[in-house]
Point group: C2
Chain length 293, copies 2
């Protein structure tokens, strides 16, 4: 029996249509529990051909607004950045809620706090950020595939995906890099990393960075605009510069794949002395309709 | 100013949702002429991330039903197979026509004749099929990247895309092949070919073939179900076996990328003694709604 569910395809981290990162969102909140198999969810995500397709369900934890399940064409993810922003935007549209200022999203990695600014920008607080050293040989192998120098020791950031953050001398060097994707895929696969976040600072006093995200071993040579990558980058910069106060970062991404993404990120000094890591931005609903399963 | 246009995403060469090859179709037939720039069409196709996105316009030749423009994420194509079937299916849905038995589609390569069977299957007659020899060195290089033997001399089929057809000993050998995509991309690019159509005959008397389509130099390692590839294959088989009578071929494709595509192809001996090449199959409308430009 075929089933018809509400469907949105949202452009994330942009206010200009088609210049951000798309995510397909299927509203399963009114579907009978268990009527859609995991196999079906995976085959839908394989078919949309987007880096991520998400499915909204009723939360199992009643303090949450919804539960999201996030799929790449190949597998399910515990958490991802732009799909979180796009799913929140879709949740607001599906439910007709216009005055909400915060949301609690349930996902496999845990509960994610989201806030909605007056201008409509949606931000999420990273559910988990851990930093780890990587071996000299891994660094050398990455450097060979990237063919550019790093200006600080690359490290591994666990933020859901496992990104190696590789800081280069400036924004232009980052933008102009032509990595060997086959080589990168080999190195990432060997060490069990998701991929590389390449970044370079723009000139001037502000914390403005050009960023690129390469995950060829996951089948995505270059992700247009990457939310979890922005968290990895500010987690890395916090560690590198020992940032202890609330600090804003502006990240641009996507120019080399004909997008113009903007991510607003923030290291936040919480009242309890802990640090948290927040990223967000604009989003635009591009496709609105229904999907037949 | 934003614009809202009717949108469909159609699954082609399957009757089972998510098991075919998707194409996004935007109905621009009621949009003011010239209001959408070529740049916009290209950026939409870049964003959907599908192998093809098509746009339906009023025909410039009044005997045609519609004009289609076909875009990959990177460029415009003069003709393509599964986007033609999907666009025809979308045209029928957009216009509410249910009793039409034939359509004339205008596209960059020329006018394409389509027929709609009583069971809803849509077939197209290939606008152009030409066969050409390729060099021994090209054949050797392809063989190295495919790592399997051919059972007849591979040739180049111009059917819009330029496919090298590579016939192997049987369907299983075709299904199990693990080509070196980076190697294939290099060879195709060097010789200016779109990619490789790999095929192997199934056991038994019928003309049943397993087929795979590789176009890594166009950014598509493996196309799930390929209409123009099916035309290239039957063009090649017609030449190889000197087929002069109307002959049916059944082609299955997509198993290795988790699809189950079925293409019905036919070499047709026309009354004037000419041969024509026809392919078609089922299609399912999966996403229905609107797109905001």
């Amino acid at each position: 029996m075929s089933m018809n569910l509400p469907f949105l395809q949202v452009d994330v981290f942009t206010s200009i249509p088609f210049m951000g990162n798309p995510v397909a969102v299927v509203n399963c909140m009114n579907a009978t529990d268990g009527i859609i198999s995991d196999e079906q969810l995976q085959s839908i995500a394989n078919w949309t051909n987007l880096s991520e397709t998400t499915f909204l369900f009723k939360p199992s934890d009643e303090k949450c607004d919804y539960k999201v399940r996030i799929f790449t064409p190949a597998s399910e993810l515990p958490f991802a950045g732009h799909p979180t922003v796009g799913s929140a935007r879709a949740y607001l549209k599906f439910t007709g809620k216009t005055k909400v200022k915060s949301l609690l999203q349930e996902c496999e990695l845990g509960i994610v706090n989201l806030s909605i600014a007056d201008n409509g920008k949606i931000s999420f607080r990273a559910p988990s950020v851990n930093i780890e050293e990587i071996s000299h040989s891994a660094i050398d192998e990455y450097q060979q595939s990237l063919s550019i120098e790093h200006v600080a020791t690359p490290k591994l950031l666990h933020v859901g995906p496992k990104w190696v953050v590789y800081l280069t001398s400036n924004a232009d060097t980052c933008y102009n890099a032509n990595p060997d994707f086959a080589g990168l895929a080999k190195v990432s696969k060997h060490y069990g990393h998701s991929g590389i976040i390449l970044a370079g600072k723009k000139p001037g006093e502000g914390n403005e960075y050009e960023m690129r995200a390469f995950a060829p071993c996951e089948g995505v040579d270059e992700d247009p605009v990457c939310g979890s990558g922005s968290i990895a980058l500010i987690g890395y910069l916090q560690d590198l510069y020992e940032v202890q106060e609330t600090t804003e970062f502006k990240i641009t991404q996507g120019g080399r794949v004909k997008r113009q993404g903007h991510i607003s990120s923030r290291v936040v000094a919480e009242k309890d002395g802990e640090l948290s890591f927040v990223s967000g931005g604009d989003s635009v609903i591009i496709i609105e309709g229904s999907i037949t399963l």
